[in-house]
Amino acid sequence: MFIVILLLAVAPVIVRAGSNALFQLEIQNSATPTLSTPSSQGGGSSIGNQVNNLPLGSYSFSGVSFSGAKIEIMKDGEAYTQVVADAGGNFSGLISGLNQGTYTFGFIVYDKNNHHSDLVTQGISITGSGLVTGSIVELPPTVTIIEDEGKKLNLTGYGKKDSNIDIVISSNSKEISKISAQSLNDGYYIVDIGKLEFEEDYYDVFVYESRAGAVAKTKISFSVSNKRVILKEGECLVRADLNCDGRVNLIDFSIASYWYNRTLTNDFLDIEKGRLNGDGQVNLIDFSIMAYFWTG
């Protein structure tokens, strides 16, 4: 009898655990024009993503990062596919089956420690069945800040191999220091940016990498408060990551949209203060911050 009671008691707990599980997605196509049917031109039928008689186009991309870099590619702001850079740091790919129209493809590079670069975008226009070849994507370095035994701050990440890396630290849009470094053969770099020198304030660190006349940059921020360094890196501390899942994506955008022009609750005020611009409301400034830190 005890076993029966135990099983009945445990069962609902298992169900609750299951309720937070991921959901399966199934796409159905009900692509039937019903309203305001266009005139005689065009027409055709819809099967999957192949619609009308309009030819589908392709987009060829290529770029440079570091050896073994994992590059996430976004199509119009949504995660689309991944590629891995070869030993020379080069990557390329082809996306076909694109309907005619304007697209924005985004590129973010992740290193083996899961630290990432800023988003780089490339806009293209598909006008026919041809191949659109994008210009070479120069991906910026990945970056993170590590506090070394409470004594100093190390800025570290991966860039292109043997490249010059310039680090600019600014506060309130004023440059306060500039440091140059060189990445190793595998792209790894580490720079001591000090610690004792920083007064209580909010700091932006820009990591620039130049190659063949193109400059790519990644930004990271930290603040000093009560003699403590607060790093804006890591889960729940990533800027604009409102639901604290380590990504800035559709869910975060939806949450911000929900609060747009609404009075914030105390709980969300804390989130707005910590992860957006902290003015106690969700407005266009917050959406701008979110668009910058977007990871898809």
Binding site: L25, A31, T102, G123, D204, L250, S254, I255
Partner: protein
Amino acid sequence: MKIYWIIIIFVFALYIPSQVRAVAGDPQLFFTKKGTIQNVKNGERFSVDLVLSSSTPINVVNGIVDISGPAEVEQIITGSSIISQWIEPVQIRKDISTIPFSGVVFGGYAGDIGQVFTLVLKSKNPGEILVTVKNTQGYINDGNGTYIALKSAPLKINVTSEDSHIVSPVIQDTTPPEEFSPEVYRDSVLTENKWLVSFITQDKGSGIERYMVKEGSGDFVDAASPYVLKSDPINEEITVRAIDRLGNMRDAVVTPLDSKEQNPYIFLLFVAGLLLVSLTWRNKTKIKK
């Protein structure tokens, strides 16, 4: 005399470059009409594009479109827009004559001809049409949400007294919106742990006009992302329908893992039931003995 000329040249040199910088560097949000002729006939359907031009990467644009003169808005096309997601969707509203809009460009846009949207207009009488975008705001893609002013100037279009015989629509689109993947989740801060569904897709033809959501066997209702679900998606299938501006539709169905997730429960209930029957039978047997 020499000093006089030096002063003139110096003042000229200071003045001209600042003017050039103002024209070349300042971001602009403005309407433009295809073609070089700014005249249309009476009753003619024509289109004007709202375009962003900026050398500084901009990731949020905002404004209000105001149209004065003998014209009416017939259609808004967002299919070729640089906007990744609309904060305030651009749409024709019956109650107001202006069209407010705001949108986000993930990663920012820097270029000369970033199309924000297209208005399809129809002239009603001879006269002058002014298409203006007011209250323009832009934000730089710098991670701090830095404001930047967007310059704008009205677009003037003259409507001649000659009647138009052009009746065909400006845009044709029979392509449904692109496939998409709604996300179902719970958020304790947002909605006291209620279930929400978030969704976004693109339509490269006329652009997305609206979304609808259906819970289980219920009816489709108009919805905006995020949509707070009334039912428990553990048991109910959630369908999100994206509809473009010419009525083409795409459905995405979120099916919960209810069968897999509830299997342990069903299995445990089954085992518990078997044990209960077994124990009851055993007790009855003992009592009989």
